[in-house]
């Protein structure tokens, strides 16, 4: 009897203290693939565009997923989400949502209040990708017809991953990373930017450069090449190309980055810190877009030297531009100082935005060419 009671008590606890659970059939869910948030109309705070996926019926025509756009207004994000029920017969389901696009207008006003619902609600993932639209609204991006994919949001999400990994020309920043950056002293946020690309026969969208933030407010843009330099400093390069040439500014040699690692070591003397940025890149000689056989004539060492020169110049120029134009620490220099010398950071942190504008940096790029894909003629003479 006692055992039965204990068993019943254990079962009761196991069954009741389990948190959320819910039985809902899969076809009753309106799967949301992407969300775009704009400034609201008609007195509402937000205008939210949802890209949902509509499915063909049954198994006979295995209907390819068709994107459906829903647009709602609301005073909070959740309000807008629930307003969607006015026109959709199914509840929106966010667990398979991959991207959130913010309009630049909203981004300039601060994004913290928008992030909150996505962080707090159970359905959206912490790995949502956030982008900023360079166009007038964010919704217009989702309203485009997908060109290479079936669903616009997934096309953008895949393009974002591919270009971040294989070209290195943009960041891809997930919700939890945004949250971390916003809550880390001495680092500022940058998000990938997206724009329309007009083309004959209907335009498409492309990921282009980054949006730069101060705290949670957007302050400006950097180009794709500058975004790549930013990625080098942040040690986020996993692939991509290094274009270089014999003369500074020339771009007729392509090196494919195999791997790259960056170490940032701060040195603090007095009130102005110096950042030592050591970039070590392994690359393959991928293309020489000239009639001259540069590699054979000058050797790998020299060609690597050209690449080092280019890389160093790119990084220096980018840091200089951000320092002068935006004054926001998207390179995470502040948090680097905080981590390696917390005592110094305590003195610097109160005046960090000004200190950042003045800090010195020393870039040391090291490029190693591992292989050259040279065709060797063996005999036959």
């Amino acid at each position: 009897m006692k055992r039965m009671l204990a068993l019943a008590a254990a079962l009761l606890m196991m069954l009741t203290f389990t948190g959320c659970w819910n039985y809902h059939e899969i076809e009753t869910l309106q799967i949301v693939s992407g969300v775009a948030v704009d400034v609201g109309r008609n007195g509402y705070k937000y205008h939210v565009t949802f890209e949902c996926i509509k499915l063909g019926q049954g198994s006979q025509q295995p209907g390819s997923p068709q994107p459906v756009i829903l647009e709602t207004d609301g005073n909070t994000i959740f309000d807008a989400v629930r307003s969607a029920l006015n026109e959709s017969d199914k509840k929106l389901y966010f667990s398979h949502c991959e991207i959130v696009i913010l309009s630049k207008q909203l981004a300039r006003g601060g994004i913290k209040s928008i992030l909150d619902w996505f962080m707090r609600d159970a359905e959206p993932r912490d790995t949502l990708e956030f982008l900023v639209s360079k166009e007038d609204t964010a919704g217009i991006i989702l309203q485009q017809k997908p060109k290479t994919g079936q669903v616009m949001s997934y096309q953008i999400s895949n393009a974002l991953h591919e270009s971040a990994n294989a070209a290195g020309k943009n960041l891809h920043v997930q919700l939890y990373q945004i949250n971390n950056t916003l809550n880390t002293p001495g680092s500022d946020l940058s998000l990938p930017a997206i724009e329309l690309k007009p083309e004959a026969g209907g335009g498409t969208v492309q990921v282009e450069g980054d949006a730069v933030f101060q705290e949670d407010k957007m302050v400006g843009w950097i180009t794709a090449d500058q975004a790549k330099a930013l990625n080098f400093v942040l040690n986020k390069i996993s692939g991509g190309l290094l274009l270089t040439g014999k003369q500074p500014g020339e771009q007729d040699l392509s090196l494919e980055i195999i791997s790259s690692s960056t170490k940032v070591t701060p040195v603090v003397t007095g009130t102005v810190p110096t950042m030592n940025i050591n970039i070590h890149t392994m690359a393959a000689y991928a293309e020489q877009n000239s009639t001259e056989d540069v590699l054979t004539k000058e050797g790998t060492e020299t060609v690597a030297g050209y690449a080092e020169r280019t890389l160093k110049a790119d990084v220096e120029n980018t840091i200089k531009l951000v320092q002068e134009q935006y004054g926001t620490d998207i390179f995470d220099f502040g948090s680097d100082i905080n981590q390696s010398m917390p005592g110094e950071w305590d003195k610097l942190k109160n005046n960090w935005p000004d200190t950042f504008k003045k800090l010195k940096y020393h870039v040391n790029a090291e490029v190693e060419i591992k292989n050259a894909a040279t065709v060797v003629d063996k005999g036959g003479k």
Binding site: T18, I26, G58, P62, H96
Partner: protein, 498 residues
Amino acid sequence: MTNSDSFGTAKLPSNDLEANVKYLCNIFKDDDTLIKRFFSSAHEPSAKFCILFSDGMINNKLINEDIIRPVLEYSFQKDDPNLIQTVSESITLSNSVERTDQVEELVQGIVYGDTILLARGCQDALVLNTKGWAVRSIAEPESERVLRGPREGFNESLLMNLSMLRRKLRTPDLKMKYRAFGTRSKTKACLCYLDSLVNKSVLEELEKRLDRIKIDGTLDTNYIAELIKDSPFSAIKTVGNTERPDVVAGRLLEGRIALFLDGTPSVLTVPHLFIEHFQSDEDYYVHFVFSSIGRFLRIFAFVISLTFPAVYVALVTFHQEMIPTQLLLSISAARQGVPFPTALETVFMLVVFEMLRESGARMPGIMGQTLSIVGALVIGQAAVDAKLVSAPIIIVVGLAGITGLMVPRLKGYILIHRFCLLFCACILGLYGLLLGIVALLVGIFGMHSFGVPIVPDIHLKNPQEYKDIYFRFPWSLMKTRPGYLSENEVRQANGGKK
């Protein structure tokens, strides 16, 4: 005696031949198969005899040649006072002759194919071994086929079965102890074990449980298995059974005990471990890599068959976020327009599958084609087209069913517990499924077979004992027997413990 067919210590009524025959015939009243034949010696008419036997149970040639002919041709002394003794000692050619006046023994002899010989002036009778009836020839058991290895299987004759075992283990260490089951059926049985290997406590426990059986008839060893097994209500077998002599021999060599029963080819072995559901005799006849892979696949199939429908329902109705997006879209597309909830759909299709399986097992072979057409086309294709069920369910149920057939010895367990887990998943999702699996594991790990835990892994300390559980190691490495089964662990000379 409480039973009408037991005669206790009753004796034949007198030394009068006619009276004795009448007495025995009276016992077999209304049994027209009882044949009696009076005859007397040609040289000495006073030497009168009568034989009684049950028609169909005897070998006519034995009776004619070895009993009647020698008696007819023998020159009896005049008024021999002890005709029975003369016949028993000097006349009959039978190899097994027993002299008795116990009615019980005579009756048992008649019903078991022996011939009773009565003589004038004697109260005793002879029981002569003339058993002879048609038995099924030795064939490969349908349910335990192998590609390589011995192909003989037991048949329904106890003696023939014992001889098959004896031929595999030619040692006096092999003990064969007769007993009988069934107060009415009086079925003969035989307990076999290797005396120096057997775990004595298991043997003692088994004999104790066998002694307790008081059933009127045992037509198959499963009657006994259900009466002696641990956890009698569990679908897990704690008593093994096989129709193959090589399997029985192999198990005896590991220190197990076998119980043969007359009239059935199925032989019980104890103790029976959980892992034996996944072992096959062919594992030992093919390369150890293949047999290990095969064994591993069977365990994997068991897990899939048990949990796959439950996992599917849990994912599709509770945890859509765990399904890859593309899969989610195709499942969602397939579900469009299907009227029933996923849980009901799954239960429905599982029941349909079990019906198909059952009808396949019960119906005559020529109807097989009809079944496969109806099963595959009507229930599979047409039900999906008519949007009664969604296509993924067919795949889920099909996979669960096919993997279930890979472990036929656990089909009852799988059938019941698959529904239990499905129920858990339907009300609580993956969390419920996990609770259900924990409950099943606790159940399995807590079970014993004649004092041996059926999943002994957690008790094992010697790595030798893992060599034939989840994987079958090469014979060169299996130096000892499992210590929890046998008292003598050395399997290969100079190997393992001395």
